[in-house]
Amino acid sequence: MALSDKELKEIAYLARINIDKDSFPSLKGELEQILDLFEKLNSAETNEVEAMSHPLNLSQPTRPDEVTEEDQREKLQETAPSVQSGLFLVPKVIEGED
């Protein structure tokens, strides 16, 4: 199935993955090949079939509303790329004066 350049750019943006110009054509070709694989599903009659989202017929379990986890903020933030005063640092989001 053909995938337009515009569609691939849109998907890549939705997935927040930058794609460099050089790998764009080959990636597009590979994705089209994978989409072709899906054509087979059109042969299956599924009008009366209930979608299966999970292998188990589970209901969501509940538990008593009790605190079970202790605060581990420092430990959890040890692996973060950039942290200050217990906060995760990212580039400035709101434009304005410094």
Partner: protein, 485 residues
């Protein structure tokens, strides 16, 4: 007999009888790892110091008669299981610096039964692959022939157990990632019923399909390890609240009268002669053991591959959105704004197969395509699962080859995603239906092992172990081990 040649069960007996200590056994494996793993590349991290400490503690427990069920047995964990304060990479650049702040329930369960952890094994990046060539830490080689791949995604776990660098290893299976490498490396590998093993702390790929399991040298060894790993876990909402039976209890019982189904859709496929003949021989063995063989039909099973390659990428695109360069893992250099941080972190941190799957999944879930792809795939998944429900009304187990062929040469399929996806044609259906499946060796071709697969009904792992063990009592294929130099 050398220590690494003993089965896990024999090692346990040796430790109990005091024939050798866990420290001796652990040192022996660590020596083998340092001698042979440079070339095989089956480990990402070797935890030598903590392994020796655990072995020492285990030896003390034996001395004071307080030994735990698996005390002192050296195993390896697939690097998808979080291990507290130890590098947990999932085979990705994205997590190449990630020390997990907590351990997976599987890791805790095994540790509380006394295992010694030798290290973390290599794998396809985020468990996406069938050859262990997509790892950021380099490809793993097949111990039977180093020009060939060990399979994937649990390729490191398979290679290290096959090369006898660990007694057994944990692994995970989303579409065949335990059973396919088991077949390609001459091992026994079990993927239990979905929900049998906790997914807490097991890095998520496709949550409705992922399941932890074992790679070992025999059905008996796999049963011992799986029993320790399994059990209800309140930390995983999809964990089954079911008792774990004694998987060894009926392992020695004859299988006379057991009904084994052969799906005609699988056997009608164009397969190489050596695959057909070794599978046929396995069927003959089962007949000799008194099993009844029946032809069955799974009419919708051919939908499995496309269904899987919509559902798994869809779930992966959601699960992997957490890797944003903010809270943990890799972050790109000098991001100019938040968007740039996300876009480049994910471009640079993920390898090409992972990116392909995230993009396919994003596409299948996006507005305008959701019904045509994702919803359609979920409906077709139901058709595949219903076929199994129907089949298990007349048979106990379903037999097929595990893979379409023996292992293949490194690089042979890495440029063709579809060719690689076909590796899992026989294993994917069990994941879609959430059923347990086991692969074990049944032959060899040009020096490379071949595997046969049995799929059982929900929660029937004990029956799978029994059938595989009875086969292994009657044959010697599982005793063949590669000579590692």
């Amino acid at each position: 007999m050398k220590l690494h040649e003993l089965s896990l069960k024999e090692q346990l007996n040796g430790l109990k009888e005091g024939s050798f200590s866990s420290t001796e056994l652990t040192k022996h494996y660590l020596d083998r790892i340092s001698s042979f793993d440079k070339e095989l590349n089956s480990f990402i991290t070797v935890t030598e110091e903590s392994a020796l400490n655990q072995a020492k503690e285990s030896d003390e427990r034996y001395k004071s008669n307080k030994a735990l069920p698996l005390d002192g047995i050296p195993i390896a964990h697939k690097d998808i299981f979080c291990t507290e304060d130890i590098l947990t990479t999932c085979g990705s650049k994205m997590l190449s610096n990630f020390k997990a702040p907590y351990s997976a329930s599987v890791v805790n369960n095994l540790s509380s039964d006394g295992v010694v952890v030798l290290g973390k094994t290599n794998m396809d990046e985020f468990a996406m692959g069938s050859s262990n060539e997509t790892s950021f830490f380099g490809p793993v080689k097949n111990p039977w022939n180093k020009k060939y791949v060990p399979g994937g995604s649990s390729g490191g776990s398979a290679a290290c157990v096959s090369a006898q660098l660990a007694s057994a290893a944990t692994a995970t299976d989303t579409g065949g990632s335990i059973r396919q490498p088991a077949a390609l490396c001459g091992l026994t590998g079990i993927k239990p019923t979905y929900g049998r093993v906790s997914r807490y702390g097991m890095i998520a790929f496709a949550s409705s399909l992922d399941q932890g399991g074992v790679l070992a040298r025999s059905a008996e060894d796999s049963a011992i390890l799986l029993e320790s790993m399994s059990g209800h876990d309140p930390k995983d909402s999809t964990s089954l609240n079911e008792d774990v039976p004694n998987f060894l209890e009926n392992i020695d019982s004859p299988i006379k009268g057991m009904k084994i189904g052969l799906p005609k859709e699988f056997f009608e496929r164009d397969l190489p002669n050596h695959v057909k003949s070794s599978t046929k021989e396995a069927i003959e063995t089962y007949k000799d053991l008194g099993a009844e063989i029946h032809e069955i039909s799974l009419p919708n099973v051919d939908l499995s591959l496309p269904v899987y390659y919509i559902i798994a990428p869809a779930e992966c695109s959601a699960n992997l959105s957490r890797y944003d360069g903010v809270r943990y893992g890799y972050r790109c250099e000098d991001p100019k704004d938040l968007e740039d941080l996300y876009m480049r972190t994910r471009e640079e941190g993920f390898g090409s197969e992972v990116k392909r799957r995230i993009l396919i999944g994003t596409y299948a879930l996006s507005a305008g395509y959701y019904d045509a792809y994702y919803l359609k795939a979920q409906k077709c998944r139901r058709l595949v699962a219903n076929d199994f429900t129907e089949a298990f009304k007349s048979v106990d187990l379903i037999l097929s080859p595990t893979t379409p062929d023996t292992s293949f040469k490194a690089g042979e399929k890495s440029d063709d995603p579809i060719e690689m996806y076909l590796q899992d044609i026989f294993t994917i259906p069990a994941n879609l239906a959430g059923l347990p499946g086991i692969s074990f060796p049944c032959g060899s071709h040009e020096g490379l092992p071949l595997g046969v697969q049995l799929v059982g009904n929900s929660l029937k792992e004990a029956q799978l172990f029994q059938a595989a063990h009875q086969f292994q009592e009657a044959t010697d294929w599982h005793k063949n081990l590669p000579e590692v130099k």
